[in-house]
């Protein structure tokens, strides 16, 4: 049978020579599966391999990547500054070491590293974030603003943002795979480079759109919670010259079970302030106080979401939000301006 098939195939080949019609192959060639099997076996034998560097691939074109980075973000980085922002000190040192190994006594490289950009960018980012948060959340106490800033500038968050705007493969650094710290530093360097290429206002848009916008789906109370809600609420009510907080049990069920639920609402001068539920009365009171505070600070679920279209003015005078110890509606009018 097989010899018959061979003959038939030969006959078709001869036909093919004469006709121009090309019939494509169907299916996967018979050699593919066994070859892949052998390759996989060899790979397994080698054990885990280091992650390949994208820049070591044949088709790598650094200049094209830099150009694309600029275009992808619709930014207007100065290309030299952009390259400098991606070049870390460790990379320059490594290059110099390479030259020394070759035998050059005093290697002179015309590559600039991003050490000063990092320092500059870190200050600038911190400034922009702080001012933006104050402007976007005018009712949030200063303690909350600082905690939110710490959260936004934490290594995990900035590193994640940095990876997501596509810095990972373009970074010129000794460490591979790139460490979180390097990713963070690169982001700061980029901010400084943008400030030098354009202006600070434009830079603040960059920080707003990529870093601050990560707050959009976050619950602010999970990042910052006032440490003593009872005392804080009482102090605020005292300052506002309202009656002290009055907690009332509004509902309870299954009190003799482990799934007991108590609902406590807090009032002041018969005005509703907040409501909370918990497995004990004490927990529920605590939550009610927290709820009252989050309603006052404008960070509750139903409050206006954080606006992400503001412009911050870094040159203007610094005005801090009210700290918790001074927070009250009257003082708020003076700072926010009515």
């Amino acid at each position: 049978m097989s010899s018959l098939r061979t003959c038939a195939r030969a006959a078709i080949r001869i036909q093919k020579l004469t006709s121009v019609i090309y019939t494509g192959e169907r299916g996967i060639k018979r050699w593919v599966a066994p070859t892949l099997r052998v390759i996989n076996k060899r790979k397994a034998k080698l054990g885990p391999q280091p992650e390949p560097r994208r820049s070591n691939f044949l088709d790598w074109n650094y200049n094209a990547e830099i150009f694309a980075f600029n275009k992808r973000l619709s930014e207007n980085f100065d290309v030299e500054l952009l390259q400098q922002a991606f070049t870390h000190r460790s990379y320059v040192a490594q290059e110099e070491q390479k030259q020394r190994e070759v035998g050059i006594e005093n290697p002179e490289l015309s590559i600039k590293d991003n050490t000063d950009l990092i320092v500059e960018g870190k200050c600038l980012t911190s400034e922009i974030v702080e001012r933006y948060l104050r402007q976007a959340l005018p009712r949030l106490p200063e303690e909350g603003i600082l905690k939110l800033k710490d959260y936004l500038l934490s290594e995990e968050i900035v590193a994640k943002v940095s990876v997501q705007i596509g810095t990972k493969d373009i970074i010129l650094s000794e460490d591979h795979p790139v460490r979180q710290e390097t990713l963070v530093n690169t982001f700061f360097a980029l901010v400084a480079a943008l400030a030098r290429s354009n202006d600070v206002v434009h830079t603040s848009f960059f920080v707003r759109d990529f870093l601050i916008a990560t707050l959009s789906d976050k619950e602010i109370l999970s990042i910052w919670t006032p440490s003593h809600p009872f005392q804080t609420l009482d102090a605020i009510l005292n300052r506002e010259k309202r009656g002290s907080a009055d907690f009332r049990l509004t509902a309870q069920t299954g009190v003799n079970t482990i799934l007991a639920a108590y609902q406590v609402a807090v009032y002041s001068d018969q005005q509703f302030l907040g409501i909370g539920t918990g497995e004990t009365v004490q927990v529920a009171k605590n939550i009610a106080a927290l709820d009252a505070l989050q309603r006052m600070f404008g960070i509750a679920d139903f409050s206006r979401p954080i606006p992400f279209n503001l412009t911050v003015d870094v040159s203007s005078q610094r005005t801090e939000n009210l700290p918790l110890t001074k927070w009250c509606t009257e003082n708020l009018k003076h700072t926010v301006g009515g």
Partner: protein
């Protein structure tokens, strides 16, 4: 097994646990901020949403089969917009006065409960009034049990039903209750519960003639 020296022998399970613990902590440490942490307020909201409410149902003069439908609704959580068959959101129902249920028509005499002991000749048929005399909670319990689909959840749902033959509900259960299910039909007043004076003075359409003998 005799060759295994006790010195080198480490129980497999303990090894396994230790390895798992290590990876768990590494994971927690690595992701400090990236895991979303629930705030206390959100946790409280969750607690409130899934709180189990305790309902009271007074079975006096109620049809147990109609009542069962309402009780089932509360036991399974069908009265909540968050209901889902896999979602454990059912409530507790305390039924009181199950001795005073009212079966429709001549159901007390005609309704038969079947039981089989699985031994040959082990079948038995009990009339509703007999069953009620033996245990005054069983008619309503069976009505609820048979009103639900037969699935693995049914027996667990039944655990949330507490039936009492009269109004003597234990104190610790009474404290849990926070809601009452409205009766399905108003409880009628019985003639022998009305005072004789009131009956005497009630306006009548006709007076019986003097000679008429009341039997």
């Amino acid at each position: 097994m005799g060759n295994v020296s006790s010195k080198n022998f480490v129980p497999r399970s303990r090894k396994f646990v230790r390895r798992n613990q290590k990876s768990f902590f590494q994971h927690k440490h690595d992701r400090k901020y990236l895991t979303s942490i629930m705030s206390a307020v959100k946790r409280a909201q969750q607690w409130a949403t899934f709180a189990r409410t305790w309902h009271l149902f007074d079975a006096t003069w109620q049809n147990p089969f109609d009542s069962a439908q309402v009780i089932i609704k509360h036991l399974m959580g069908l009265h909540k917009p968050i209901y889902h068959p896999m979602n454990d959101c059912g409530d507790h129902v305390v039924v009181m006065n199950s001795r005073d249920i009212a079966l429709p028509g001549d159901e007390w005499r005609k309704r038969v409960y079947f039981h089989h002991t699985t031994y040959p000749g082990g079948a038995s048929w009990t009339l509703a009034w007999e069953l009620h005399n033996k245990n005054p909670t069983l008619v309503i319990k069976k009505a609820v049990y048979n009103g639900m689909d037969g699935n693995l959840q049914r027996r667990h749902t039944m655990q949330r039903l507490h039936v009492f033959p009269d109004d003597k509900i234990p104190e610790e259960i009474l404290k849990n209750i926070s809601n009452q299910i409205r009766y399905l039909r108003p409880v009628p007043t019985r003639l022998d519960h009305i005072s004789p004076e009131e009956v005497e003075n009630y306006p009548k359409i006709v007076d019986y003639p003097k000679q008429y003998i009341l039997r």
